[in-house]
Symmetry: none
Subunit: 194 residues, 4 copies
Amino acid sequence: MGSTPQPRRGNTRQRIQDVALELFAEQGYEKTSLREISEKLDVTKAALYYHFKTKEDILISIFEDLNRPVEELIAWGKEQPRTLETKKELLIRYSDALAAAAPLFRFMQENQATVRDLSIGETIKGRVVTLVDLIKEPDAPLTDQVRCFTALFTLHAGMFALKDFDGDPEDKRKAVLEVAFDLITQAHGPDPAS
Amino acid sequence: MGSTPQPRRGNTRQRIQDVALELFAEQGYEKTSLREISEKLDVTKAALYYHFKTKEDILISIFEDLNRPVEELIAWGKEQPRTLETKKELLIRYSDALAAAAPLFRFMQENQATVRDLSIGETIKGRVVTLVDLIKEPDAPLTDQVRCFTALFTLHAGMFALKDFDGDPEDKRKAVLEVAFDLITQAHGPDPAS
Amino acid sequence: MGSTPQPRRGNTRQRIQDVALELFAEQGYEKTSLREISEKLDVTKAALYYHFKTKEDILISIFEDLNRPVEELIAWGKEQPRTLETKKELLIRYSDALAAAAPLFRFMQENQATVRDLSIGETIKGRVVTLVDLIKEPDAPLTDQVRCFTALFTLHAGMFALKDFDGDPEDKRKAVLEVAFDLITQAHGPDPAS
Amino acid sequence: MGSTPQPRRGNTRQRIQDVALELFAEQGYEKTSLREISEKLDVTKAALYYHFKTKEDILISIFEDLNRPVEELIAWGKEQPRTLETKKELLIRYSDALAAAAPLFRFMQENQATVRDLSIGETIKGRVVTLVDLIKEPDAPLTDQVRCFTALFTLHAGMFALKDFDGDPEDKRKAVLEVAFDLITQAHGPDPAS
DNA sequence: TATGAATGAGGTTTCATTCAT
DNA sequence: CATGAATGAAACCTCATTCAT
């Protein structure tokens, strides 16, 4: 446990992102100061500015890095046939993506007001719409659109809001997915084969 | 008499709450400063402190005032038999309550990180749990609990997130309620009479 | 000499302007920090911001206050016949105005680069042009225009640059005015009466 | 070979000076940061420190390089007889020197407050005095001293302040020189031969 | 019922500068 | 000949809050 001032490693940028996300998710964006981040890293505030242009920039970079899987998921989804199987697969993969970047998505859930007028706000809004589009049938009635939207939202909610319920986390995740499946299955309409 | 916009004496407290809520909902709690509020009211910052002890106090007072209907709803719910009809009525009334105090609930949705460590945070969390308890069957399996939770959440989401979808607002509200009904009906289980 | 924390007098705004101008003139605008100003006044930085919106605002307010005499002089000049007598009177009055607000004009001389892109920059440039217009004949040849411009400029230079020459200040001022008179007399052209 | 804009090795020092002077003249010394300079050169800040010890050092080096002609002019002037012809020649050469290093002199005019307490401040002040000494008669009355000083100052002013007047630049320069000639001729006193 | 004046803490950001590589 | 990474100081500015009047 070398306590001597450790050599400047090349991973400072990454460490800033890690600590920042941790604090952003824990306390909120505005309540997290750059002083706090830098102290936790044992670095000066100015060092943050060597790696990122602004505070917002830190957040954006985190978002861009962690969000890639979702972008890829959407790209994948666009090339699949719009079958019920595909939709289910989409939900599963989306659920995985959320779990993989849980702190980021928790942060986004709990800081919508902040995220909204950051430059990433529009990106996010657009993404939700796109995802719903991939899941709903082209001319689905409003009720079914709501079902699709709710299915997605349930996945999100499952991440942070269900913490207060008891039960095994893995069980919960399955339960959430099951409900989401139900919703999109209903929205998908009767199997044309029947 | 006197058609000039009178300074309306006596209702300053109310006006502060109105303007504050408007700004909180629009920009978020932390990004709204007391200066901004007081300027919009054409009053000094110090005046705010005559009516409220702190900034947080303004928010709490708003919450307490607007939240009463929900408290009453819960009280009402606790005295009803746990029938499907009651549950539906609960959802309808809750939906009405949300609509009646839309800006407050929008604010709470979009500022969870902030609300969480304000003194009202615990209150809110407890309330959601209580509501779910009123809707779900005592020993409902996890999946059904999720359904109940999702039903409630859908009502919330319907308020702000569906703004980006097109369609008549009234239609949307109906669609949202319909989906919520479906969810709790499923969770309610088969009619024991059958 | 009460050394106890003196009561908040109503002249803080004025005192800020005085101290600020003194420091701006002495060290330059950018090299004078708000910390310095506030310390010299035994007041917090925040107090400065109670009275002025920004650092630039302090300067602008000083300029607007001290510059009024010059504006009035120009207004006066515009209503006079363009005789040689008028022109001389203009120079005398201008010289007086400069002397009355010496620190401000010294500041402006020595911080042109700064003043240029402050919001008062344009105002100042326009003012010089207007003054020259009042002194030169409508269709004066270039040489005479330069003479008029130089006459004005000599007054300015007389304030700060001549400090390094020896001689009684009052004598210097007279000498400067005499040279300026010569210049505009030459530029005024031969007396039409002759 | 290779027509692509080559990194021109070896002349970095010169390029730094060029860019720095350009920015100093345009924006002022304090408002120009080393970051800005280095970015415009597509070089790191640290590179500047390889070539110059400090920011001030950059300015000093520019001054020393560009100022040599003026030093030489003064040296030349000191060896000439103090005739009117000599004085005129001095003005012409000085005017040429100013034109040749216009950005530097513009910078010095507009950043007097800054230049004053840089180490070159004294040098400059001394130089003006020396120049006036070369032009004025040993025991000239104050008025004539002012004339000489004004003559020099007019040359300076002609460079930057006359930009706002219309007219061909070359014409302006001639006009400025003519006025300066007039001033020193007057100050030179009656030709003793007459 | 309010205001005018001020504070103390803290925010984000920028700067000139250093130094090992 | 130059860079990458970092620092310490200080800049401007904003905020919630206080209190005498």
